[in-house]
């Protein structure tokens, strides 16, 4: 027995009409055509520059054998450890410093504005030239740092970039130096958005200094701080410049992070798919971060 009722016969057509109606919304006649005409370029750009590269990347890194080869590479494990350390220290130390410095730059006075201008210089200057300068500064034989140590104290300085941990440390410090001003400015803007009434009321209630920071400022900044931390983590995961130009991924390929090992595999080994696989191996870390970030951005609408 056919169980379909007479009402079901036209259901697909009804669905199509409902979909068309919902797409049209309140638009009528020519308005709908114009709306489509305006939207199509954006969709085309989105498909060409967002969907295609992502799908192509996923396709390039889709073979399981690539990951077997990647994990068999003797330097991959040290690369993962470096990446985790780079993220953990680079992001958190930088954000904590930015939080403190944003409080410092809230102080009134003209000289504070001048100081802020000088403070943002590392962020404003081109990063590749500054990272190369740091690399030269740390050169063991003729670098500025060791020459100063020898000139002032007759101390033969260490070969900063010859040891895996000091080289990684140099990269992390260079990153913090470069990007702390940027995040300080963001958090400074956040602090400035806290209404004066709240701060004044807190002062009346005795919440000044550290107490004011712990009970008033930080709770209001917490969401912004978390979002900045997540964003910074995502940015840093793809950072290629600091490692390449400060330590070169050395010594002996022990200082790479996933972004630089991806480039090495793609172009030094001429295996682009293996390079993509190296970067793809960070996805288990990136996807949860993006999900948390999206959720936080939604809640951030009503919080500072």
């Amino acid at each position: 027995m056919n169980g379909a009722s007479v009402l079901d016969i036209d259901r697909p057509a009804i669905r199509r009409r409902t979909l068309a109606r919902s797409l049209r919304g309140t638009l009528k006649g020519g308005e709908y055509t114009w709306a489509v005409a305006f939207v199509v370029p954006y969709i085309a750009v989105f498909l060409a520059f967002v969907v295609y590269p992502v799908v192509y990347g996923l396709w390039m890194g889709s073979e399981a054998s690539l990951y077997r080869e990647l994990f068999a590479d003797p330097i991959y494990q040290s690369t993962v450890v470096n990446t985790v350390l780079y993220l953990a220290l680079g992001v958190n130390v930088k954000m904590f410093l930015a939080l403190l410095l944003s409080g410092f730059f809230m102080r009134p006075g003209r000289w504070m504005k001048a100081l802020l201008l000088i403070f943002v210089l590392p962020w404003a200057v081109p990063q590749i030239s500054t990272f190369i300068s740091i690399h030269w500064m740390l050169n063991g034989e003729w670098g500025f740092l060791n020459n100063v140590l020898y000139g002032l104290f007759h101390i033969e300085g260490p070969y900063w970039l010859n040891d895996r941990w000091s080289a990684l440390g140099a990269v992390i410090v260079a990153h913090i130096w470069k990007w702390t001003p940027f995040w300080t400015l963001i958090l400074l803007a956040g602090r400035m958005a806290i209404p004066l009434e709240i701060r004044d009321t807190a002062k009346v209630d005795g919440a000044t200094g550290l107490s004011g920071f712990v009970h008033i400022t930080f709770p209001l900044l917490a969401n912004l701080y978390l979002i900045c931390t997540l964003l910074s983590t995502i940015f840093l995961l793809g950072d290629f410049n600091a490692v390449t130009f400060v330590s070169g991924g050395g010594p002996a390929n022990q200082g790479h992070v996933l972004a630089t090992i991806g480039i090495r595999n793609a172009f030094d080994l001429a295996q682009p798919r293996l390079g993509v696989a190296a970067v793809m191996s960070a996805l288990p870390m990136v996807i949860p971060l993006v999900i948390v970030l999206m959720r936080k951005l939604r809640t951030a609408e009503v919080q500072l």
Partner: protein, 459 residues
């Protein structure tokens, strides 16, 4: 019924003229006389000037157009790899580094250029002809996919004033391998006694960056008798006791020199340009580095350095410890045509023009002789035999007229990956920095080499 009028004829003619670009092969005709060519930028400007001249001469002679792109060294390689991966390729590209010929021949990505090579076959050196060939794992045959253009070997570069300051003369340098390099340790010791705090005897690239460390290691491997690590049939011979002994000796000498303080400590992080810069800064007495880039880079600015102070040992390149000549490993720069190139005919025609002895000879000489020719007849030119030039005769003797072998990736592509993964570098560094015994470091390296070779098994 309609009638033809003067106006309708004019209208029709205009419409036809307007539609012509869409219907007639105007673009195709233009494309048929144009080829795009990608070259890596030279180390000195003269190289690029020489290339532009050769291209302009061809355009004038043929009426064809070459869209020339001169790209910095590292981005050129990235661009070629990206192009071949994506399928949007130029009509012609230079090998950079050279093993890219063998690498993509394996994947059947190059056009066969045996007809181009055939035009000058009698002129090319045997080593250059070998290096132009590669195994194609798709067709399962060896073919000619490269047109040899120029070559390079790895000479020794020495600062005469530093040797003399240490109380020696250049003529005092011994001729056999170990004694030759040990000499520079003595030079360092003497310089240190005179208060030279930061001068090192040996510029060994004990690093895991670039192509220099592989070239250095291979020079030592051959000097210690490891020539048969890969034979012409592409077979790996790590089980050959001579090869293993040579690898252990090379690792021990190179790593040991670093460990004992005769190599600048920063060498462990050098890239291919850093040793040139360190040598120019007189951080070390001698450097073992490919091409004459070290010398030609300063020829114009510091002619005294070029003509008096820098010594390159080409003719004086050390023999092995038994006194036999050590063959120089030659890296041959090739020109290739990627499959999918739109203008193969023009690309081939340009190559046939470019590799004529007169044209390619002038191109190399205008580039100050940083690169070697690949045709022995060109070595006899007044440029290469100039008695006033302290470098060129020795260089061309070492890399073209003396005993040479092509780099080993020519015989088996896996050696390119051994080079790019810096397997020998890791062995040197293990000895230099981690205190690992050379035997253990070589065992580890050999294990990795076997893993890499297993990926490139021929059908």
């Amino acid at each position: 019924m309609t009638y033809l009028t003067r106006r309708s004829v004019l209208r029709g003619s205009l419409a036809l003229a307007a539609a012509r670009p869409f219907a007639a092969p105007h673009v195709a005709k233009a494309a048929a006389t144009t080829a795009s060519a990608w070259f890596a930028q030279g180390f000195v400007q003269d190289e690029d000037v020489a290339l532009r001249k050769a291209v302009a001469d061809y355009e004038k002679a043929s009426g064809n157009k070459i869209e020339l792109s001169i790209i910095p060294f590292a981005p050129h390689r990235q661009k070629v790899i990206s192009a071949i991966t994506s399928g949007v390729v130029p009509d012609l590209t230079q090998s950079n580094p050279n093993e890219i010929l063998q690498l993509y021949a394996w994947q059947d990505k190059w056009v066969d250029v045996s007809d181009v090579v055939e035009t000058q076959k009698a002129q090319f050196s045997e080593t250059a002809l070998q290096a132009a060939q590669a195994y194609n794992s798709v067709t399962k045959t060896r073919g000619v996919y490269g047109v040899p253009l120029r070559a390079a070997v790895v000479p020794c570069h020495i600062w005469r004033p530093l040797v003399e300051k240490a109380g020696f003369k250049i003529e005092d340098i011994p001729k056999t391998w170990d004694a030759y390099f040990d000499f520079f340790k003595k030079v360092q010791d003497n310089l240190r006694k005179q208060g030279e705090r930061k001068v090192y005897g040996l510029g060994f690239q004990v690093t895991a960056n670039g192509v220099d460390p592989y070239n250095l290691f291979m020079a030592f491997l051959l000097a210690y008798g490891g020539q048969n690590i890969v034979t012409k049939d592409g077979k790996l011979h790590l089980d050959d006791p001579k090869v293993k002994e040579a690898a252990i000796k090379a690792t021990a000498y190179l790593g040991g020199a670093y460990r004992d303080g005769y190599v600048p400590p920063s060498a462990i992080n050098w890239n291919d340009a850093d040793d040139n810069n360190a040598f120019h800064a007189k951080l070390m007495v001698m450097d073992v580095d490919g091409t004459l880039s070290t010398e030609v880079a300063v020829k114009e600015k510091h002619p005294d350095w070029y003509f008096k102070e820098m010594v390159t040992h080409g003719i004086g390149y050390p023999t092995d410890n038994a006194g036999k000549p050590v063959p120089a490993i030659v890296g041959v720069t090739q020109m290739m045509i990627p499959k999918g190139a739109k203008n193969v005919a023009v690309a081939k025609e340009f190559l046939k023009y470019f590799v004529q002895p007169k044209v390619v000879g002038e191109f190399i000489e205008l580039g100050l002789g940083r690169w070697l020719p690949v045709m022995p007849s060109l070595a006899k030119s007044p440029f290469w035999q100039d008695p006033k030039d302290p470098h060129l005769r020795g260089y061309v003797q070492m890399g073209l007229l003396g005993p040479t072998v092509p780099d080993y990736y020519v015989f088996n592509l896996a050696m390119a990956e051994v080079r790019n993964q810096h397997v020998f570098s890791m062995a040197m560094i293990d000895v230099a920095k981690e205190g690992v015994k050379p035997e253990a470091a070589v065992d580890k390296a050999f294990k990795r080499i076997e893993e890499i070779f297993s990926k490139y098994k021929k059908a």
